[in-house]
Amino acid sequence: MSLLKYESQLREPLVDGNKDYHQVTEDIISPIEMKPSKLWYVGFYISVALLIFGAYSVYREVTYGIGQWNLNKTIGWGWDITNFVWWVGIGHAGTLISAILLLFRQGWRTGVNRAAEAMTIFAVMCAGQFPIWHMGRVWMFPFVFPYPNSRGPLWVNFNSPLLWDVFAISTYFTVSLLFWYSGLIPDLATVRDRAKTKLRKMLYGVASFGWTGSTKHWQRHESLSLVLAGLSTPLVLSVHTIVSFDFATSVVPGWHTTIFPPYFVAGAIFSGFAMVQTLLIVVRKVMGLQDYITLGHIEAMNKVIVLTGSIVGCAYLTELFIAWYGQNPYEWYAFSQNRANLFSPYGWSYWLMMFCNVVSPQLFWSRKLRRNITVTFFMSIVVNIGMWYERFVIIVTSIYRDFLPSSWSTYYSPSIYEIGFYLGTFGLFFTCFFLFAKYFPVIAVAEIKSILKTSGENYKAKMTDIEKSDADKFYIEEVEHAH
């Protein structure tokens, strides 16, 4: 009987080592059952400290007003919106991995999807902070939603990209959360059924919604995952498209370009994968999950990084060319003087962006470097710095010299509370991620089990038997099993 699905032996195994189903459970769940390491506490407390500093910065801003930041009349969007777009971009990798790679039947997704989805949710939470607190009078935040109110009812402007953003980000957050949690339910049930203490059994029992593993439930679960993946695929592309509309639908030279949607989406995937690398390289080492997040996984993600990095590079050159070719003096001035001129006030940020995003990822054409953990870790940081500067360049260099030279800005640099707010979102992100790594299975246990017998290292050898066996017999057995 060959129940094994055939997979070529030329493919690298996705799970290393001699594993069976129980071993997979053991490897992934046991860190949850142990006391966290000293390093975990150190990291967690640093994150909480950053979060507290962030909360204080936000308190200053709410109490004393936006004046606590160094924004001015000309530069109305600075670090806040840069950080918003940066975090939203990072929040794209998780859904891309779990949705698009599911539709493309990429088996390597199973090792990294859970942590990447968690990262997505936390990044979107961080992103959401910026537009909310930027409102200044934050208590009016509910006004962004169209609900019947005593002001007329005065509705929101459905034709405004800023409102599209409200819908896009909140939908994206909700759908990502549902997708992530529905995948977590079976794994939380695994934790529940292994629990030794009463409290853990109770808590994971509540969290796992009474999952039993019934075949009918799995059948529905599979259907749910597939449709959610189908829905999330256009969703993930729409979110950064809509974020780019915030700029593209304006009349500001440097923003008013049709290339923005694809260019933003590629950039989002680029920075998102870089952040996944940063986190997973640490997680696999600290939690001893090298057998599940293998060099093959890291290499696959580096391939996505070099692809999307090059798309972003093409976009930079295209918009530069079109700015010249379009012969609009304002557009060309924004590109040639505000950005590409190294000696203009912010010229350095443009070239830093070019170097980090376009030049440095080209290292990953080399297989040796793609499979080098140190290089990958270093590069993931470089890419994230580069992508932060991309948003900074787009926002600040387009508006600091507007149509009226008398209001050309003095040099904009952030205040301590602007920086504090940004650091605070790091605090929020890492506090959530540390808690996630401690209390949730960081790898999708059930999904790893479902690919174990085709892609596990110790099962790979058995493919030889299938290769040797009679093709007709193989076909009959497969068909018989299908019914």
Partner: protein, 196 residues
């Protein structure tokens, strides 16, 4: 819903290669499989058990259409009837500008609706207590539960399962409730399916 006490013969398998023929033989012998509990989705097991396809995706489609019409209807009513705003002299009925929100609401309705339907159908909720036939059903064992009727000789059935390759066999009594699930109508009889 009031439930009675039911008896189940439970067999634990540790390999899906053994499980599949066992499912087939148990069904051929005329026993009614209550359910098979597995630690991960075993592809083809639903077919082997004679379960019908789920129509969850159809529900998802209906929710999606509801989202689309809600968004379009709501925005058209507001901007053409309830409070038409003059935004730069542009048309009140600005369909292209509504595409993003319409799309987002389509996805939102569909996703939320499907997840809620999934939880309802599978009776999943935070404080639901269910009978678990085996603690390792979520770890590494495949647990087959067969419902006993008055006519079932459970000693025979236990032997039958053991011969079919079950590593552990036992008899369990569980109070049936709605959470146990009723798949009687879901499952086709083996005879019907094969046409004899």
């Amino acid at each position: 819903m009031a439930g009675g006490i039911k008896k189940f013969v439970v067999g634990a398998f540790d390999d899906e290669k053994v499980l599949f023929p066992a499912v087939k033989n148990v069904r051929k012998a005329g026993y009614k499989i209550h359910d098979v509990y597995t630690p991960f989705p075993v592809h083809g097991l639903d077919h082997a058990m004679g379960l019908r396809e789920t129509s969850l995706h159809t529900a998802g489609f209906i929710y999606a259409i509801t989202g689309t019409t809600t968004a379009l209807g709501f925005m058209s009513w507001i901007f053409t009837k309830d409070w038409p705003l003059n935004i730069g002299g542009k048309p009140h009925f600005a369909l292209p500008a509504w595409i993003p929100i319409t799309f987002e609401l389509t996805v939102l309705f569909s996703a939320v609706g499907m997840v809620l339907t999934f939880c309802y159908l599978c009776q999943l909720a935070p404080f639901v207590k269910k009978h678990h036939f085996h603690a390792r059903a979520t770890d590494d064992l495949f647990i087959m539960a067969i419902e006993c009727t008055d006519k079932t000789n459970d000693a025979d059935l236990q032997n039958f399962l053991q011969n079919a390759g079950a590593k552990e066999v036992n008899v369990q009594v569980a109070e049936t409730g709605w959470w146990l699930g009723r798949y009687d109508r879901e499952q086709k009889l083996y005879r019907e399916e094969k046409g004899y």
